[in-house]
């Protein structure tokens, strides 16, 4: 079977030789013996033949073949030991050999770690801490910020509400919503809802439930249908419709026993009978956990809801039509708001619209905190990586001699590299595993420490994504940083290292690498320390704020009088009776009612005018927080009276209208004058509200949180301006929480359908208000301490190593008369120079990064010089100590010993 095309081997040009370098490459990569020789022969023969046609193309061809052979055979190993043509055996053998090598590597790695347990523990602890902390924070970020809302197509859900000229959210007026709904084209469905907690009565004990009032199209907008019963229909929005409620699965099971025939049953909420028409599917959640969603019918006809100037806490949620963006919706609603402004100038002047993706809206409050923490944890993870790298480099240096011996005895370079990679992969896998355990534990702490009301906190857990993150972190730590010593090993020149021993060339190189790592570590530590320092200052400033009241020994709780039977007269009769009961409780020294609590935020804000000053234009009218309070409020809260009097028996429902104002309002409206005796009216200038006389001026109270400015504040007597939902404040001589049972019994006694809710001490209210800052503080300080510890340990190691390296040199110096101080200075200078470089880089980094946490800060700028100075001083001091100890040991070197050791 001879083919005519085939050519007999050519014998001309037999003396020519191929490119020497390519020839050399082939000799080195191809297997030894006949297997390699035959291939080289073939390529050579072909090259010589090709040369007869074109010498240049032939040489290029030769190079291409050499490279292709090199690439292919490099990965097959060059052992040259091949079992020739033994079917089915050689692959298996090679596979067995690889497994054998791997087992060997693993066994070797385990043995070497067991031989140096402190080293293994140091690496494992570093990895566990770094991976654990970052995985825990990642789980928070993932669960709260990244995971999509558990609603269909959540990216098409848009939140919309109204804002005033100062960009403050004022919630949506219902008539404005009707106009949005009628005119907007970007939405498939636009629904309205508000938080509307209800008192559930008729069961064994009255209880407060978490409810949301919704327009009938609400569930259509968010795209979820009840699992049982029916959804609301547009008829349910009508004022004359029967009130309907759709309950959640959790509420159905916990409060109503999961009764399958629940649909159609009546429940009493705020003294109104609602028909249960549906039950939502298990796991359904809208922004926060709820018990029930109630229809608009009971309030649809109310004048309060239907007046355009009233903003009753409603917000809109819409589902975008396909092809429309959030930006389209924003533009459209803004245009509609402008139309409404010109159509209804009396109520809509200066009213704007704010829109956002629903998912973003939910997490605006915690986004900054979480991202700041994620940044901090990223720094910590990097520090951990750097530390592991530094430890492995040190180990690599120590193993240099061993590796040199193995290389000299014929250990292949790839084989050595692979062994080192197995080594670092194993330790990082173990570190990752410990890290996950650490993360589970840390996350439990974090969730417990998270501020109350943190959205979606219940969704935070170590899930698949978190495990993936942990594995990735472990892999990066292990492989990238384990590769350091592996590459060093690759550079091993067997003979050279053997001849030059342990201390020369390579060790110097590894020392440089370690110093560079220390610089990185110091810089990262500075960044974290600055973050921690700024948070410490912030919390200090917040705690130092003069709140204007005494928070200790005050219990607060809430109640609501619901139902039409609570007329103004009956309320006015009820309040003194209930207050009397509270004051009679043993341990209570004073008590009062108020509509809003200091720090917690004002519930009622309104524009106003004063009698003796010119009235500004509509958009310039001043706005104040209006708070009805009972007699005894100022005494109970410990708010100082500056001028005039506080409320008392004189302020009866029928007596002339009076108010007490705060200092800020007095100074803003009547600077240099006595405010007492002046008159003020709430609402628009043309409103028919009563003029009220200022009877007293009290000290400023931080009503809207510690970090916010004191608002202009008006207190009204509860007797003249009552409310159905009130807060009890009771000053006690005993532990405030200890009177809760008696207080609850008293409340049941006066009105069995009036559950108390949101019971907390005033100290707790204060704590909650700064919980985000406090959480950031705790995490940042913890991280900073860890970072500082790791950095100083690293520095200690490097200096100690340098001292060992230079024992001989120091011996010579001291033998020649250098004194201990000089040697000490020499070693410390080396350490501090390294630190100083890291500090400089770190300060630059911190200046660049700290503005990211600006929103978390209070009373301190992101580049606060005092904080930076303190941080740098502290780090340098720690570095000095870390250097001093090993440097001092250098001075103990006995010159004769050092010289003899060579």
């Amino acid at each position: 079977m001879t083919d005519p095309v085939r050519r007999k081997p050519d014998t001309t040009y037999a003396n020519e030789d191929p490119p020497r370098l390519a020839g050399w490459l082939l000799r080195h990569v191809l297997p030894g013996g006949e297997a390699g020789d035959t291939i080289r022969g073939d390529v050579l023969e072909e090259w010589r033949h090709r040369r007869t046609k074109n010498a240049n193309t032939a040489t290029r061809w030769y190079w291409r073949q050499a490279i292709s052979l090199a690439v292919r055979y490099a990965w097959r190993g060059r052992s040259g030991v091949r079992v020739v043509s033994d079917p089915g055996v050689s692959t298996r053998r090679r596979y067995m050999l690889a497994i054998d090598n791997l087992t060997q590597d693993v066994r070797y790695a385990v043995r070497s770690y067991l031989k140096a347990p402190s080293f293994a523990i140091a690496i494992l602890a570093t990895l566990a801490l770094g991976i654990g902390a970052s995985t825990a924070i990642f789980s928070m970020v993932n669960g709260i910020l990244l995971r999509p809302l558990p609603l269909p197509d959540p990216d098409r859900l848009v939140f919309a509400s109204e804002i005033n000229t100062k960009n403050q959210p004022i919630s949506t007026s219902v008539p404005n919503y009707f106009d949005w709904k009628a005119r907007a084209r970007s939405f498939e469905t636009l629904a309205l809802s508000n938080d509307s907690p209800q008192t559930l009565t008729g069961l064994d004990q009255a209880r407060r439930i978490r409810a949301r009032r919704i327009t009938a199209n609400f569930f259509r907008a968010i795209g979820v249908r009840p699992a049982l019963g029916r959804d609301l229909t547009d008829d349910d929005d009508r004022a004359n419709a029967a009130p309907a409620v759709i309950i959640t699965d959790g509420f159905w099971k916990s409060a109503l026993g999961g009764d399958p025939s629940i649909v159609g049953r009546l429940v009493t909420l705020n003294q109104v009978a609602y028909t249960i028409v549906g039950v939502m599917p298990p796991g359904f959640e809208y922004l926060r956990p709820y018990d029930a969603f109630i229809s608009m019918a009971p309030i649809a006809g109310s004048r309060n809801v239907l007046s355009r100037g009233n903003h009753n806490g409603f917000a809109a949620v819409g589902r975008l039509k396909p092809g429309f963006s959030v930006e389209d919706a924003r533009r459209e609603l803004t245009a509609i708001a402008a139309q409404l402004e010109s159509e209804y100038p009396a109520t809509n002047t200066g009213i704007g619209v704010v829109t956002a993706r629903l998912a973003d809206r939910l997490v605006t409050t915690v986004r900054t905190t979480l991202l700041a923490l994620f940044g901090a944890v990223g720094c910590l993870l990097l520090i951990a990586c750097v530390n592991v790298a530094s430890l492995l480099v040190a180990r690599g240096a120590a193993r240099q001699h061993e590796l040199a011996v193995r290389a000299a005895l014929g250990g292949g370079r790839l084989r050595l590299m692979r062994q080192l990679l197995v080594d670092s992969t194993m330790i990082s896998a173990a570190g990752g595993l410990l890290g996950v355990l650490c993360a589970i534990w840390l996350l439990r702490l974090l969730v417990a420490a998270a501020p109350e009301g943190t959205p979606r906190i219940s969704h935070v857990s170590i899930d698949g994504a978190a495990l993936l993150f942990a594995s990735a972190a472990a892999a990066v730590c292990g492989l990238v940083f384990g590769a350091f010593p592996a590459f060093q090993a690759a550079g091993t020149q067997g003979q050279q290292a053997l001849v030059r021993g342990r201390s020369a060339g390579f060790a110097a190189r590894s020392h440089h690498v370690r110093r560079a790592l220390i610089v990185v570590e110091t810089a990262l530590a500075i960044v974290l320390l600055v973050g921690a320092g700024l948070m410490i200052r912030t919390v200090q400033e917040l705690i130092g704020v003069d709140t204007g009241f005494r928070a200790d020994h005050v219990l607060t709780t809430r109640f609501a009088l619901s139902g039409t039977q609570w007329t103004e007269e009956r309320r006015q009769a009820f309040y003194p009776e209930f207050l009397q009961r509270i004051r009679a409780i043993p341990g209570v020294t004073n008590a009062a009612f108020t509509m809003s609590l200091p720090i917690d935020g004002s519930q009622w804000n309104s524009i106003f005018i004063v009698a003796d000053k010119p009235t500004p234009q509509r958009s310039q009218l001043p706005s104040a927080a209006f708070t009805p309070v009972s007699a005894g409020f100022f005494e109970t809260m410990g708010i100082r009276l500056l001028r005039g009097r506080v409320f008392g028996d004189a302020d009866a429902p029928t007596s002339p209208a009076t108010i007490v104002i705060n200092e800020t309002l007095a100074k803003a409206l009547w600077p240099g004058e006595d405010a007492v005796g002046k008159h003020l009216k709430q609402g628009w200038p043309e409103d028919k509200n009563t003029w009220r006389e200022v009877v007293g001026v009290v000290a400023d109270v931080k009503f809207n949180g510690l970090a916010n400015d004191t608002p202009l504040q008006v207190y009204l007597p509860l007797t003249q301006e009552s409310s159905t939902a009130l807060i009890v404040a009771a000053r006690t001589a005993v532990d405030p929480m200890s009177i809760v049972p008696t207080l609850e019994a008293a409340a049941r006694d006066v009105n069995k359908d009036m559950p108390l809710f949101q019971t907390a001490t005033m100290d707790q209210v204060l704590e909650t208000s700064i919980a985000q800052q406090r959480l950031s503080l705790i995490v940042m300080v913890t991280f900073a301490v860890v970072a500082l510890t790791l950095a100083s340990l690293g520095l200690y190691g490097v200096i100690a190593h340098a001292v060992t390296e230079r024992t001989h040199e120091i011996g010579v110096r001291m033998a020649l008369g250098a004194d201990a101080r000089h040697v000490l200075g020499l070693m410390i200078r080396q350490g501090l120079t390294t630190t100083a470089i890291g500090v400089a880089i770190g300060v630059a980094g911190a200046v660049a990064l700290s503005r990211w946490i600006q929103d978390l800060l209070f009373g301190v700028t992101p580049t606060d010089p005092a904080t930076f100075a303190a941080v740098v001083t502290m780090l340098m001091a720690v570095a000095l100590v870390a250097c001093y100890v090993p440097a001092w040991r250098a001075t103990r070197v006995d010159p004769t010993m050092a010289l003899r050791s060579e």
């Binding site: 095309v5 022969g41 073939d42 072909e46 073949q65 292919r72 043509s85 079917p87 692959t91």
Partner: protein, 110 residues
């Protein structure tokens, strides 16, 4: 279950069979180029042949070299009975798969 043959492996085995007693490395490459239009790098060629050898489908013995190759030895390949069986199996499989689809092979211009 027979050994699965890749397309290039089939080509290699067929080439060795075609060359008969003269299946030297250089000639395999040339035959592949001229008959199958496959220009293949020496790295791909020899590692593929090694793989076939590992699977027991080809074997080689060395023959003495010529001056044109500085006396370096040559490989002479032969297909083992297992190799022939594997080729047959591949061909049968393909034919089974084509059965009933022959109309697709018709030249649309005819």
């Amino acid at each position: 279950m027979a050994v699965y043959l890749g397309e290039f492996e089939q080509l290699l085995l067929l080439t060795v069979l075609r060359l008969g007693a003269d299946a030297f490395g250089t000639d395999i490459a040339r035959e592949l180029d001229q008959r199958a239009g496959r220009s293949v790098s020496r790295g791909a060629l020899y590692t593929s042949l090694d793989r076939l050898e590992d699977k027991g489908l080809v074997r080689w013995k060395s023959a003495s070299g010529t001056p044109a190759r500085n006396g370096l030895p040559r490989r002479v390949y032969t297909v083992t009975p297992a190799g022939v069986a594997a080729l047959r199996e591949s061909r049968d499989t393909l034919q089974r798969m084509w059965r009933g689809l022959e109309h697709l092979l018709k030249d649309p211009t005819s």
